[in-house]
């Protein structure tokens, strides 16, 4: 098995990685987070002060215990002599509880506010990613950042930040207390530090790469299992079970081995910390011994110092063992903040109210003109050449041609997804490149094969296209695309939860929904790319009828796979190898006996 897979690794190249989105540098992230923390300086300062007060109150306890020891050692006291220090201990505990609790609440609140600000601005940036960029990078990385990385960051804010603040203050202030007790004892305790520094360096060197490999292995394992789950029908039909299972087993074992390695490194790290503890403790006890013999300090002072030092074990070990988590949280922060570095494809415009009374009918359709338009995704690889074209307001134009003829490219250029490499596109006489992304979108809507149904109610899904629409308008839009019947039959009608986690819509229903959104968005120009191709014959016919009504009164460009869409268009464009080779209506082109006529013959050959 291993041999087979090794062989495969040699023979195959991985799928080309999508272009990565920008990542912020550590300095950029720090600046961004600090700016957000300081947006409410007083709350932030109050939170910090309360936490400090809590730790200080906690430090009074060993001091008071040391005092008790001195009282005991001095001897000859009444038992009532212990009352004073004991009351002090009680009061200190009370103060510690109060301050620490209050401080924790404030820290959590500021942390959560900063986090909310970060995630909202990250999603804002993601939403404003240019469509062209999105085509290049895919949406996987974006999804990972707004969900996975934001979750990691949230966990960090909820557990890591309070833990870090608490541990750092505890350690720092305990050292100060130790110093106040006796500087020589403090110095002796510090002999642990070089060993701890060594242990952390050792951990970072060893654990970083293993952790990374572990995450990759877990990702691969999850992907392999998901592939098996999703493709189970195919796996069973083709007898691929042994192959898939062997692959899952291999990747699962790899993930297990890396998990074993990384926890092994963890225990070795704690072994080293034990060594550091012993060193510090020994030093402290030895120095205490010498100082007590020299009558420089009381036995109680040495006891208190030892108690302080024992108290340090937990926070220090806790702090040092979060090194990894801090690293992965800061990497997540870099990726989330990095989204803000994406070039904005066009500022989100003030939410200008859409035209009034649009339910009555679409706004005046616009004219679209293309002058010598050409396009190349890669330099030297022209996929579209010198297209001259003019769409009259309200005209319905279908684009046909074989796979790879440039139909989708033409659609994307008209929709403003990419600026054309050559030539000019005018919408209502204005060059496309002068329109910001937001304005193009309000002029031209693009409906493509992607039939995403948004999680939420059906009404919420539709209102993405027009937030101010009332239920009556939603109903009308669904009616226009023949979808009202099934929508009304849903368990809660418009209030039914759809999309992920809700009622599942069929592919045809999802496409109807996309068309209903188009009706609600009500753009003067609409571009449809293969929106009805995958539905199968019966469904396609229903969708074509729906699309026809949704496009009524708009200038439209429709990429047609099924020639029936072309038959009813005002004009048909035939593309071949990126060139516009024929145009005219159905009868003209069939009569001309050119490429369209041949396509039509292939399509309709059996039909008459």
């Amino acid at each position: 098995m291993t041999q087979v897979s090794d062989e495969r690794l040699e023979r195959t190249a991985p799928a080309p990685p999508p272009e990565l989105l920008p990542t912020a540098t550590a300095a950029q992230t720090r600046a961004e987070v600090l700016a957000r923390v300081l947006r409410r300086p007083w709350q932030s300062a109050a939170a910090l002060l309360l936490v400090v007060a809590g730790v200080l109150a906690g430090l009074v306890v060993p001091r008071a215990l040391g005092h008790l020891v001195d009282v005991v050692v001095a001897g000859g006291h009444q038992t009532s002599a212990v009352t004073g220090p004991v009351v002090l201990i009680g009061a200190a505990c009370l103060a510690q509880a109060l301050f620490a609790g209050w401080g924790a609440a404030l820290v959590a609140r500021r942390g959560e506010e900063v986090l909310a600000g970060l995630r909202e601005s990250a999603l804002g940036s993601a939403l404003n990613t240019g469509l062209a960029r999105l085509e290049r990078s895919g949406s996987g990385d974006l999804v990972a950042r707004v969900s996975g990385d934001v979750t990691v960051l949230g966990e960090a804010v909820r557990t890591l930040v309070p833990q870090l603040i608490g541990a750092l203050l505890e350690i720092g202030l305990t050292l100060v207390a130790l110093l106040l007790l006796d500087w020589r004892l403090a110095l002796a305790a510090l002999t642990a530090v070089p060993l701890q520094v060594y242990a952390v360096r050792w951990l970072r060197r060893r654990s970083g790469p293993v952790r990374r490999q572990e995450r990759i292995a877990q990702g691969e394992q999850a992907q392999q299992i998901l592939e098996s789950v999703n493709g189970a029908h195919t796996v069973r039909a083709f007898g691929l079970g042994p192959r898939q299972l062997a692959e899952v087993e291999r990747r699962s074992a790899a993930a297990r081995d890396l998990a074993l390695r990384s926890t092994h490194i963890g225990t070795r790290f704690f072994g080293k910390l034990n060594g550091a503890e012993l060193t510090g403790l020994t030093g402290l006890l030895a120095v205490g011994f010498v100082l007590v013999r020299a009558d420089a300090i009381a036995v109680g002072t040495a006891s208190a110092a030892a108690l302080y030092f024992l108290r340090l074990f937990d926070p220090i070990n806790g702090l040092l063992s979060t090194v990894d988590e801090v690293q992965s949280a800061s990497a997540a922060a870099d990726r989330v903040v990095g989204l803000a570095l994406l070039p904005r494809s066009g500022a989100p415009e003030p939410t200008a109210p859409r035209r009034p009374g649009s339910a009555a009918g679409p706004r005046k359709a616009a004219a679209v003109e293309l002058h010598g338009v050409g396009h190349a995704y890669l330099p030297g690889h022209r996929v579209l050449h010198g297209v001259d074209l003019s769409l009259a307001p309200g005209e319905r134009v279908a684009v046909v041609g074989t796979t790879g003829a440039g139909k989708s490219t033409l659609a994307r250029l008209v929709a403003g997804v990419h600026p054309p490499s050559a030539g000019r596109i005018l919408i209502d006489g204005r060059p496309v490149e002068e329109l910001t992304d937001g304005r193009i979108r309000r002029m031209v809507a693009l409906v493509n094969q992607e039939t995403h149904v948004f999680a939420g109610t059906l009404a919420e899904d539709l209102r993405l296209a027009r937030p101010e629409a009332d239920d009556e308008e939603l109903r009308a839009a669904l009616g226009t695309v023949d979808a009202w019947d099934w929508a009304a039959a849903l368990p809660q009608g418009l209030a039914t939860e759809v999309g992920q986690g809700g009622t599942r819509l069929t592919p045809i229903q999802a496409q109807q929904l996309a068309l209903a959104r188009l009706v609600l968005a009500d753009p003067p120009v609409a571009v449809l790319d293969e929106a009805t191709a995958e539905a199968g014959s019966a469904g396609s016919r229903a969708l074509e009828a729906a699309a026809e009504r949704a496009l009524a009164g708009r200038t439209s460009l429709v990429v047609a796979h099924r020639l029936t869409q072309a038959v009813r268009a005002d004009r048909i464009l035939v593309l071949e190898d990126g060139r516009l080779v024929e145009q005219g209506d159905h009868e003209q082109l069939v009569a001309a006996g050119g490429r369209y006529a041949r396509l039509w013959a292939a399509w309709s050959g059996a039909r008459d």
Partner: protein, 581 residues
């Protein structure tokens, strides 16, 4: 029922077994890792005991060396302290090793068991859950059950530390020991009592956070739609609402948690104050020494730790229980079909007979397909087509009638043999993250002949796909064929079905995503490739139907007309509507 007997017989392949309960799953996991768990318990107990001994040892150093001892005393006690640390560290590392194996080995075995069930040839009788749920059961739940094995060691360690601490305290002073032990009980009870509402709060909070995260991921997944409509503002506003209520929920939960933290500190403080007070009084009147007093206070603080670890162990167990229940439910999912005993050898002719076949919306179908012919099946109702394909692919049993392959009922053949002879290629075909050739070649143990692969690739017009890949035939095509277009994926999937070269091939709408000219090419290729083989084409594409020897039209789940495509187009108006646009 015979099906159940067979299910029982194959239980061993499934780890905890078919029809395992939540307890069975956990017992299986425990049994498999018994030795590691036992080791982890012993070493954790040793480690925790040694940890508990540290404050005692420090007290002894104060007593015997610092408070009036000589340098030799100091050296002796420090050496003992070093020995203690050595024991502590060694036990910790050994415990770590045992724990790692006890949890990770178990998680791995469970992952494999879960995927084995998911891929079982007998399938699922009902939808077993979304792919996300299945993935999470096979990974997150498997890990949680594995980590549940740690509860044993944590419990053993806590018990050992408690026993040691209590003994040491009682040896120092019965009175002080009793104060500490009696004080611990209400302390722990109160802590647990306070934690209960917190757990409920935190799961409510987690739900809010997950909802906001889900909204973000969902909006980004639909980003092309959002941008196509220019609905960025509306989308952002929607996310802000979700993010805002997530913020409110987490702040609320954090307030509770902070209150809990404060109260815990306060309770521990009270406990410590009482111990210090009674201990100091005993020390003043000489009942215990200074060192014993220091050790007692240290022990009292230390004992809070192991006590709370009991709670931690219980939490791990509770989580493992929930996960084990989900794992057991997956393993116990009923099978769709059982498969028969016959592993018919030899080369079948490919005679396919559907005798009075019925399943759901497919009401009654009699159909005989002679060896080497191509028959089209047309139905305007997608549910009828789905039912027919499910029965032929052995994803659901026939409710009435049966399928016969060369005179043998399909249900009597073993699943592997049945699928080798009769292959159903679905419309939604899944490709895997391999090269195009590896996808087309099929199973590792019986890959298709290279010459056959080449013919299949050209018949399906899939060879053109290679030219668009960055490294041609050496490129992997990404998960589910991500880097290919819909039409390219469809052609590679068709090539795979043709390369398998089964005696009977059932194709469902194999050409919906290709243009008319390409479809006509593929129809020719299909015809040539399947010339002497039996093929069933479930489609409404006229281009494919005109290549069929015969077409059966199913209306409302029963055949209403049979003939060539041309005949049916002329004679049958309803057929004409179904196929023609």
């Amino acid at each position: 029922m015979p099906q159940d007997e067979q299910n029982e017989a194959s239980a061993d392949a499934l780890g905890p077994g078919y029809r395992a309960t939540e307890r069975d799953v956990r017992r299986w996991v425990f049994d498999r890792q018994r030795r590691w768990i036992a080791g982890a318990m012993v070493f954790t107990a040793l480690h925790q005991t040694a940890e508990a001994a540290v404050p005692v040892m420090v007290g002894a150093v104060v007593d015997h060396a610092i408070d009036g001892g000589g340098p030799a005393d100091l050296l002796r006690w420090i050496a003992l302290l070093a020995l203690l640390f050595l024991a502590l560290s060694t036990a910790m590392r050994l415990a770590g090793r045992c724990n790692r194996h006890a949890s990770q080995d178990a998680a791995h075995e469970l992952r494999v068991a879960a995927v084995t069930r998911i891929l079982d040839p007998r399938g699922f009788a009902a939808q077993a859950g979304s792919s996300g749920t299945l993935l999470s059961t096979a990974t997150a739940d498997a890990l949680r059950i594995g980590l549940g094995n740690r509860a044993w060691a944590i419990g053993a360690g806590a018990a050992a530390a408690l026993a040691f601490g209590a003994t040491a305290l009682l040896l120092t002073s019965v009175q002080l020991g009793l104060v500490v032990l009696v004080g611990l009980v209400p302390l722990l009870a109160a802590t647990r009592l306070l934690a209960a509402p917190l757990t409920a709060r935190s799961s409510a909070e987690q739900a809010e956070v997950a909802r906001a995260t889900g909204t973000a991921a969902d909006l980004v997944r639909g980003l092309r739609v959002v941008k196509g409509l220019g609905a960025e503002e509306a989308a952002l506003r929607r996310y802000r609402v979700a993010s805002g209520s997530s913020l409110a929920a987490t702040v609320r939960a954090a307030r509770w948690e902070a209150g809990y933290q404060g109260l815990t500190l306060l309770l521990n403080g009270c406990f410590l104050t009482v111990v210090a007070w009674s201990g100091a009084r005993l020390a003043v009147d000489g009942s215990i020494s200074v060192g014993e007093f220091v050790a007692s206070v240290g022990l009292a603080q230390f004992l809070v730790g192991p006590s709370t670890r009991f709670g931690m162990a219980m939490g791990l167990r509770a989580k493992a229980r929930g996960s084990a229940a989900r794992m057991a439910a997956l393993l116990a999912e009923p099978y769709a079909v059982a498969g028969g005993p016959r592993t018919a050898a030899g080369r079948p002719d490919g005679a396919l007979v559907l005798a009075g076949l019925g399943a759901g919306p497919l009401r009654h179908l009699d159909l005989t397909v002679r060896p080497g012919t191509t028959v089209g099946v047309v139905t305007p109702d997608p549910a009828v087509a789905a039912a027919l394909l499910d029965v032929l692919a052995l994803r659901r049993p026939a409710e009435r009638g049966q399928v016969e392959l060369d005179g043998v009922p399909l249900a009597e053949l073993s699943l592997a043999e049945a699928r080798r002879v009769l292959l159903v290629a679905d419309h939604e075909a899944d490709l895997f993250d391999l090269t195009v050739a590896e996808n087309v070649r099929g199973p590792l143990d019986a890959p298709a002949d290279p010459a056959l692969v080449a013919r299949a690739m050209s018949a399906a017009d899939a060879d053109q796909v290679l030219s668009v890949l960055p490294d041609g035939g050496r490129s992997r095509i990404g998960e589910r064929g991500r880097i290919l277009s819909g039409g390219q994926r469809q052609r590679v999937a068709l090539a795979r079905a043709l390369a398998a070269d089964p005696a009977v091939l059932v194709l469902h709408e194999p050409t919906t995503a290709v243009d008319a000219a390409t479809e006509a090419d593929i129809a020719d290729g299909l015809r040539a490739m399947r010339a002497d083989r039996t093929t069933l084409l479930v489609t409404t594409s006229p281009i494919l139907l005109q290549t069929c020897d015969r077409v059966v039209f199913l209306d409302d789940g029963v055949p209403t007309a049979t003939g060539t495509h041309r005949e049916l187009t002329i004679d049958q108006p309803s057929y004409r509507t179904a196929v023609m646009a």
